[in-house]
């Protein structure tokens, strides 16, 4: 009997604990990207290429994301904005035909959401942009993305990293102040 207990405690228990720990640590890191949605890149209703528009053609982000300087929301462009060009440009391409159909039907285009802060966080785009923070600092090099995907995690710790050490995270900004770190700056 005592041998059996001895075996349990000396051999079996450490093995179990070890396996559990290793698998936890492994899963924790292996799944971190997924938990944080890093690399999330779902199929969109229209295969819009940021690389083509923002990269090759150098259209400014704000041509489409009009709210980014004014309000909390960067805003997704309306079908109408796309049609500013696409009533003329490339009207024969299948994706543009899809777009035109959406536009004519009056229905919104159901873009899949990529970036999301927690619902109880009230992130404000205009504050950040008006301080000169580059879109790419959070959203990555969108201008080189054929299909849009998330590159940085959007957790509170990631927000705070930057708010605490902006000079490290945003080296291109001169005389940068620390961001607010009190709760109601974002939650309310």
């Amino acid at each position: 009997m005592s041998n059996f207990i001895d075996y349990l405690l000396r051999i079996r228990l450490p093995i179990v604990v070890f396996v559990a720990l290793v698998s936890f640590v492994f899963t924790f890191y292996a799944s971190k990207a997924e938990r944080d949605s890093v690399g999330y890149s779902p199929d969109q209703p229209i295969a819009f290429s940021h690389k083509l528009h923002a990269g090759t053609m150098q259209i400014d982000c704000q041509y489409c994301h009009t709210g980014v300087e004014k309000t909390r929301f960067a805003t997704i462009p309306t079908a109408g904005v796309c049609m500013n060009c696409h009533t003329q440009a490339r009207t024969d391409r299948p994706e543009i035909i899809k777009l035109t159909e959406y536009y004519k039907s009056g229905k919104p285009i159901p873009w899949k959401r990529i970036h999301e802060t927690a619902q109880y966080a009230y992130f404000n785009h205009s504050v950040h942009v008006s301080r000169g923070i580059d879109c790419a600092s959070c959203h990555g090099d969108v201008a080189n993305m054929e299909k849009i995907s998330q590159v940085n995690p959007f957790n509170m710790s990631d927000c705070l990293d930057c708010h605490r050490n902006p000079e490290k995270k945003l080296p291109y900004l001169k005389n940068v102040n620390k961001g607010p770190q009190h709760c109601w700056a974002c939650h309310r």
Binding site: E34, G67, R72, I109, H187
Partner: protein, 1028 residues
């Protein structure tokens, strides 16, 4: 001390108390003050019943199953749903930014200008239109709460056929066809349209055209509260075509309110708040006015009066004549008093009146002071009699103003506008007789509710059955729509076009801020359709075209479109009307008999500030707004004096039966300090029976006592105790604390919760309040506030306790309605409450009000005790509450000395009335900038932090530092008296900060050294100099 007070503890003059029970017990009301929970709250919670009884095995099984699902779900990214942009964005919408539209609110007789805040096209908040000359940027609780009416889930969404209260959908064309046929066929006067007051000149024009086309049409106008006695008396005195003058309240040095709630239900309370309270500026003490109140009820006006005289209704007449006699004796108003009266007048002396009305020593002193003031301030004094005061006494009041010279305060620049006369009681009785005789073939109820409002004795509901076709235009089901043949659903004000003219020199406009949510039309558009005589061709813009054409007719300039757009934008259009004709008192034959014969018990039917005539009853925010004085929610009740209650053997929550005019109503009792003896005060507008669930059977309908609608006071009632009891949901004894801890009887006083003085005291020694500072040692280091530091100052000289701030706060911050059962348990959720304390005796009490909200203390006691750091201190001086951290221990609430934290015991939206406020489309009313809190978390005032953050981001975008004046809180915006100021305490030279540091400023519970950032400016009573 009289006999009945024998068992009383000797209460000091200055001690504060909250209810008669507390007064009599010398402070201890009941056991509740020693306990955290209200009685019965813990006992009745049965875990087995209230929570589903899951066994341990089942729980484990569910847990493992959900873990397995989770593991399965881990294999891919979480789906985040879709982002839906507009297809084509409307030009004027910026997502995330509010739009404001000027319009007019038609929910009562005043048609105040409003500014409606919309987010992404949906209205979420209503404030006053600052450009409006009458309400100048403020609007009452009803106007504030009207957002909820728009989103009421029980609104009619399409026309209905009604059969004994069963509603089945119908078609517009069918109903229109039937009505048009009836209009064409009917003989003269056979088509009756019943409406409340119409404010719109264009609607009146349209109604005139309808009458011209169909000779059968006649209109009946009524309102349950229309100040008819006052208006009729005015017409007697000044001529049939004369309209009661606009009073220059801001120029009045002495104001006497006779049974009038100037800060509540009589006249335009918003304007009166502004003009009367503006004169109570502690930085301009020379301009202080003096407010007298003589009343049987205890109103906010009485509570805020410098002198209050308690009189019974049967003494109104003697009271006015006493004033007239004493004033004229001292040389006022020579030759004004008609001979028929002047001979009788000498009998009405102060002595005689004091004896007859059994005035207390205090009452007699007040009366003498009043007479003195009326004599010395003559043309700067005004006497105003309220809704209940009978017509004959109103005539005498108008005469008294002529005698004192107070009529000089009638405005000579603006006049009230009367677009139509109200139908007389005779006309209404005649209508019912016609209906009974079968002479009425079509009855159209234009958004009124005659079945509920008309005196029951007339038998209107019965008579409806004799009418061939009854059509009700309505927003929500009501008593009249129930008895109709068809219901035509109406647009809410926010979905309608219109205009309003209530005063000369301007017209206000009403514009829709949202497209009709349902298949509804506005009243005027329905009439227009009938006028066309066709059932097709309806367009939403029909009435807009008509309105514009009507405006164009009167427009003299050359760019109408610009003028029209400007008028809509501003919400008001300034025009110059004919000069005001000074009213000339012509009446010779003044009443010389008291219209109210003394009887056993008097009854006053008062108006509810929140519900009005009952049409706002289905609005939870208004039902839950505590009554300004009694703090009762969700009910009406019989308010009686302590003496009367003792004579009867009744106490608060007993039932009594009131018998009057052969009718009997059983009502719960509330012993109300300050109410006249042998007088019962009950509010109308309750006891709705055929309406959605919020209003259903809340309180009792006491309109059964009325023979005519303008009759609001009776002296011949009898009362008797009835069997049983009934619990009123009053919040007046909530948040009591164990006084034994403070080891003193007059705790309120020693703890400086209410600090007051007299004007003379202040002038003699401005620092009279500043006693010795309590010593302040803190174990914690002080917080640092490098940037702005937010603070609030509430001026108790201006605050009247009306409660508008409370409603505004609830709407701004998505505060849920909890329902009567939860209010009884002390779980009301309003972040801002108005505390009301009495002092003196229950017979002649003084009342003090104090808005109480989170004080955002520097050394906040709540912060230290939270085990999960869910409440924290911010760098700009706010006491932050983080919902997603809160686990609901409620330690913070326990440790808060002000008791301003509110706990979500339930998901109240779900819990209240079977999830009434979870139904579509109520969620559209939510402010998207404020989190909707779930069950189990604590919440409290945030100083409108979302507005602060919005202002901060704006300042950042403009590259300037944030200033204190950039932010206005919702309560501050809503306060009609401008009692609340908000700003930056670190900006030492700002007006706000100087006011915050005023000699009269104090913090509540200063001795606790918690350094509250809300300060109160002590109220100064403007008593006469002799009293100091």
């Amino acid at each position: 001390m009289s006999d009945q007070n024998k068992d009383r503890k000797d209460v000091k003059r200055d001690e504060l108390w909250r209810s008669v029970d507390e007064y009599n017990a010398g402070g201890v009301t009941d056991e509740t003050q020693y306990h955290e929970f209200a009685p019965g709250v813990k006992e009745e919670f049965d875990v087995d019943k209230e929570l589903s009884g899951i066994s341990r095995r089942k729980f484990l099984a569910l847990m493992s199953a959900s873990a397995a699902f989770m593991a399965a779900g881990c294999s891919d990214y979480r789906d985040k749903g879709e982002l839906m942009p507009y297809n084509r964005k409307p030009d004027d919408i910026t997502i995330g930014e509010a739009n404001f539209y000027a319009s007019t609110y038609m929910g009562c007789g005043h048609a105040c200008g409003v500014l409606i805040k919309t987010r992404e096209g949906r209205p979420i908040k209503v404030d006053g239109n600052p450009d409006h000359p009458v309400n100048a940027g403020k609007v009452c609780a009803k106007g504030q709460a009207s957002v909820m009416d728009l989103y009421d889930p029980q609104r009619f969404s399409e026309p209905q056929t009604v059969n004994q209260g069963e509603y089945t959908p119908a078609k517009w064309q069918d109903v229109d066809g039937k009505v048009i046929a009836q209009l064409t066929l009917g003989g003269e006067g056979s088509a009756v349209f019943i409406s409340h007051k119409v404010h719109s000149p264009t609607a009146i024009k349209l109604m005139g055209e309808l009458q011209e086309k169909y000779k059968s049409v006649r209109f009946i106008y009524y309102d349950l509260f229309a100040a008819e006695n006052r208006t009729n008396a005015w017409k007697k005195c000044y001529g049939e075509d004369s309209v009661p003058a606009v009073i220059k309240w801001d120029e009045a040095d002495v104001i006497l309110a006779l049974e009038a709630s100037l800060f509540g239900t009589d006249g335009n309370s918003i304007e009166q708040h502004r003009m009367i309270r503006d004169r109570r500026d502690v930085n301009n003490t020379k301009k202080f006015n003096r407010l007298y109140s003589a009343e049987a009820n205890f109103t906010t006006t009485g509570a805020n009066a410098d002198y209050r005289i308690r009189i019974k209704p049967e003494h109104y007449y003697d009271f006015v004549l006493t004033l007239m006699n004493e004033v004229s004796k001292r040389g006022k108003g020579k030759g004004v008093i008609p001979e028929s009266l002047s001979g009788k007048l000498s009998a009405f002396t102060v002595d005689a009146f004091s004896k007859k009305a059994q005035l207390s020593e205090k009452g007699r002193k007040s009366l003498n002071a009043l007479i003195g003031d009326l004599v010395s301030n003559g043309s700067k004094s005004i006497v105003y009699a309220g809704e209940a005061v009978p017509e004959d006494v109103q005539v005498l009041v108008h005469l008294l103003n002529e005698v004192t010279g107070g009529s000089a305060l009638y405005s000579d620049t603006v006049a009230n506008v009367e677009l139509h006369k109200y139908s007389t009681s005779k006309e209404i009785a005649g209508l019912v007789a016609d209906m009974k005789a079968g002479k009425v073939s079509l009855l159209v109820n234009m958004d009124a509710n005659p079945v509920y409002h008309f005196p029951k004795e007339l038998g209107f509901e019965e008579a409806l059955k004799k009418v061939k076709l009854v059509v009700s235009m309505a927003l929500l089901p009501n008593e009249t729509s129930y008895s109709s043949n068809f219901v035509l659903p109406l647009n809410h004000d926010f979905e309608s076009w219109g205009d309003a003219k209530i005063r000369s020199n301007f017209t206000s406009t009403m514009q829709p801020v949202i497209a009709p949510l349902y298949n509804t039309r506005q009243k005027e558009a329905i009439l227009l359709q009938w006028l066309s005589g066709k059932t097709d061709g309806y367009k939403d813009t029909n009435y807009l075209d008509y309105l514009k054409a009507a405006w164009k007719e009167n427009y003299k300039g050359n760019n109408f479109n610009k003028f029209w757009a400007g008028s809509l934008h501003d919400g008001v259009s300034m025009i110059t009307d004919a000069k005001v004709v000074a009213p000339k008192f012509t009446l010779k034959d003044v009443p010389t008999e008291n219209p109210l014969k003394p009887g056993k018990t008097a009854v006053i039917l008062a108006e509810s500030y929140a519900l009005g005539d009952g049409r706002h009853a289905n609005n939870g925010w208004l039902q839950e707004l505590p009554h300004t004085i009694s703090k009762v929610t969700w009910d009406n009740y019989a308010a009686i004096s302590e003496k009367t209650s003792k004579d009867l053997g009744a106490k608060t929550d007993s039932l009594i039966e009131v018998s009057l005019n052969g009718k009997k109503v059983t009502l719960p009792v509330l012993v109300q300090p300050g109410v006249a003896d042998d007088t019962v005060i009950v509010e109308l507008g309750y006891g709705r029976t055929k309406c959605p669930v919020v209003a259903l059977e809340v309180g009792q309908d006491v309109s059964v006592f009325q023979k005519t609608m303008n009759e609001k006071v009776f002296t011949t009632a009898t009362i008797a105790v009835a069997e049983g009891s009934y619990t009123l949901a009053s919040t007046q004894d909530h948040y009591t604390y164990d006084k034994s801890i403070v080891n003193t009887d007059d705790a309120h006083l020693k703890r400086h919760i209410i600090q007051e003085g007299t004007l003379a005291q202040f002038i003699a020694n401005p620092k009279f309040l500043k006693g010795e500072k309590p010593s302040s040692v803190s174990l914690y280091p002080n917080h640092e506030y490098p940037g702005v530091k937010w603070g609030m100052t509430i001026d108790l000289n201006k605050c009247t306790g009306c409660g508008n701030c409370s409603v505004a706060c609830s709407i701004e911050n998505n505060v849920p309605v909890v329902g009567k059962d939860q209010v009884i348990k002390g779980r009301e959720m309003q972040w801002m409450r108005i505390d009301r304390y009495y002092s003196g005796t229950p017979e002649d009490p003084d009342a003090s009000v104090q808005p109480m909200l989170c004080q955002h203390c520097d050394n906040a006691p709540c912060e230290n005790v939270c085990p999960v750091a869910a409440t924290q201190h911010s760098i700009d001086g706010l006491n932050q509450m983080v919902y997603n951290r809160c686990v609901g221990t409620r330690y913070c609430s326990n440790n808060c000395p002000y008791k301003v934290r509110r706990f979500n015991f339930f998901d109240f939206r779900d819990h209240f009335a079977n999830g009434y406020y979870y139904e579509e489309p109520v969620n559209l009313a939510n402010n998207p900038e404020v989190t909707v809190r779930p069950r189990g978390v604590m919440e409290k005032c945030t100083f409108c932090v979302h507005r602060i953050e919005e202002a901060r981001s704006k300042a950042l975008a403009e590259g300037r530092p944030l200033k204190g004046s950039d932010v206005k809180t919702a309560c501050q915006e809503a306060c009609p008296a401008d009692a609340i100021s908000f700003g930056d305490l670190n900006d030492k030279q700002s007006d706000f900060n100087l006011f915050h540091e005023h000699d009269l400023a104090y913090t509540v519970l200063e001795e606790l050294n918690i350094k509250a950032n809300v300060r109160y400016i002590a109220r100064l009573q403007n008593t006469t100099a002799e009293e100091v």
